[in-house]
């Protein structure tokens, strides 16, 4: 049945006179100077209700512990094999009353009950960010799966400030996205929100209620080491 439907639909579309293909008009997405770029990213994502903290490459786990302590976070999900996951585990192991770490190291079928209800926050890295719209760019991977940035009530995302691009168009072109799209690519611009009840904004309707961005400073030596 499906095959016939396919050929009939395509036949009808082909029977219609093909339209002229309009020329591609010039359009340039906005560009920013280096110092504007970072400021724009911060201003935009803060306007979307995210919290931004500037951190150092070596000390961010300590900083994160105090940020999360203020929010009463006790159980934090991490990706145990990523650089960030390992750094966090190493530093927190030596800290008194650091939250418990839960590794996303098994398929969702095994971890579902924990993921759905039992973690307070998750920490992920990002592939980059976008200044124009204040957006995080994530390509979830086997090491850092999709649901980490979605199910826990708090999402902590590490953004390396030298990876902030001007616009999505520039990022897609520079990194040749079209040549090899991942299973899932996701752009995140703030915590989950809704305005379905009388246009009143409410956060955390399905995804994270809070988005914490740790903006990693560009230290020359550090940048090379990552």
């Amino acid at each position: 049945m499906s095959d016939n439907a396919r050929s009939r639909i395509l036949a009808r579309l082909r029977a219609a006179a093909p339209g002229p293909v309009p020329p591609r008009p010039a359009w340039t997405p906005p560009t920013y100077l280096a110092e504007e770029r970072r400021a724009r990213f911060i201003a935009m994502i803060e306007a979307a209700h995210a919290e931004v903290h500037e951190v150092d490459q070596t000390t961010w786990p300590v900083r994160l512990r105090s940020i999360l302590a203020n929010k009463g976070v006790r159980r934090v999900m991490t990706a145990p094999t990523t650089a960030a996951g390992q750094q966090l585990a190493a530093v927190w192991a030596d800290l008194a009353d650091a939250p418990a770490l839960i590794a996303y190291d098994q398929p969702v079928e095994v971890l579902k009950p924990v993921l759905v209800r039992d973690v307070d926050a998750a920490v992920t890295m990002t592939r980059g960010a976008i200044a124009e719209t204040g957006t995080l760019v994530l390509w979830p991977s086997p090491a850092e799966p999709r649901l980490m940035s979605l199910l826990p009530p708090i999402h902590v995302a590490l953004v390396e400030e030298w990876r902030i691009a001007d616009s999505l168009a520039a990022l897609m072109a520079d990194e040749s996205w079209a040549a090899a799209m991942p299973t899932n690519a996701v752009l995140i611009s703030g915590p989950s929100k809704t305005a379905d009840i009388e246009q009143t904004l409410a956060y955390g309707v399905h995804g994270p209620k809070e988005l914490i961005v740790l903006l990693v400073r560009d230290q020359e030596a550090g940048a090379a080491a990552v």
Binding site: I9, P23, L168, N184, G204, H206, G207
Partner: protein
Amino acid sequence: MALETMPDGPVVENPAMDKGPDFTQRAHAALIDPGLRRNFRRAMDGLMEKRAAQFADPVAWAALRERGAQARAAALARLPDLLEELEARCAANGIQVHWAETIEDGNAIVLGILNHHRARQVVKGKSMVSEEMHLNDHLAAHGITAIESDLGEYIIQLAGELPSHIVMPCIHKNKDQIATLLAANIPGLGYTEDVAALTAAARRILRDRFAAADAGISGVNFAVAETGTLVLIENEGNGRLSTTLPPLHIAITGIEKVVERLDDIPPLLALLPRSATGQPITTYVNMITSPRKPGEKDGPAAVHLILLDNGRSRVFADAQLRDTLRCIRCGACINHCPVYARVGGHSYGSVYPGPIGKILTPQIAGLDVAGDLPHASTLCNACVEVCPVKIPIADILVRLRQEAAQPAGAATPAVKGAGSRRHIAEALVWTVWRWVYAWPWLHHRATRLLARIGNWIPARAPLLRAWTRNRTRPHFAGQTLHERARRAGIDHE
């Protein structure tokens, strides 16, 4: 493929319409409901203001809009080729593609896939196409529970209503109404008007539904032929959950949603949320290119894409009407429509209300069913000015009015139900009108006659009644303009 299909699904005669009173009657009821008018007015004013702030620079807006319109027009220009390319790319990526000519086919395909996977609990992300298909009713008739997870859709599903806006489905309801509804439906939730508390309660209930779901169903905002990628945008995260947590994902889209290249996406994304709600971007842009790959720890093992025609190929056949299919469903035309702001979304009796509904619904359901909708407009052009992909909505409205009044009987009318609103009396009036204006001596006599006896015609006379029902009866001057001019000594003839 051997999917089970149900031969005995419910027959929906007027797919995009519900039955009952026509637009005029529904609009009348809506107009005398001050609460409803207040809800819409407030919402529309806010949305218009926010959109205007996003496009404050007219030069940038014009260039971006040109690029967006081009992306959609170019996609339509090569639609059959692009659909084949999309299908091939999706297949190569592991996404199974299905084609549905009608909503009955579409519903049967969804049901077949769900049965194949023995799925009984379904969560849905927001999808206007599934509304168009009345998919939830179809699934319910076959023992499958489909829960809407977008907060607005969830609210109207609880209320048993249709969406009143394509972007904000429960915009017609105010806080007290929603508080009452949720208190009655969510165990343990008392009446509260605290929006954060209401939202948290919905999160709790729906989180359990997500965890228990056997399948997720979603719409699609753009399908990229070049890469076989499905792009979905949303603010809540329910769309990401529906397409990530359950083991099976079924995406449903109209055949027109395809775009040629991945680099068409940034300009369209720069237009859609800003036009819709005045946000620079939605919270989430979710790009799905394949099911879960070996080694990945989450994501659905199977992803299906259903391409629904339901009359779109017929719309496509006409060079002028084809522009209807450029629509990216931003709802800006709705937010700026003076008619919509006053009569609300339900008056249209259509899944798609407002200007886009007025041009789309009659073409899909037929002018015989929805022929009154193209008349629900003053042709003020507000929708045309804001449409991010430059759809000539007003021209299409006029064209549809003409099609509806066409003499019936053309072998293959451009629009289903063409000629269905042709009234012999009306046709006669216009024929006489044409003669009168073609012959000066006849015009002269006719106007003189009307000047003399016009005021004697009762306001409730058959043809006049349609006008005087809502308006003051026109008053005829005692003399025609020509007579007065002549008397004043002006005579150019």
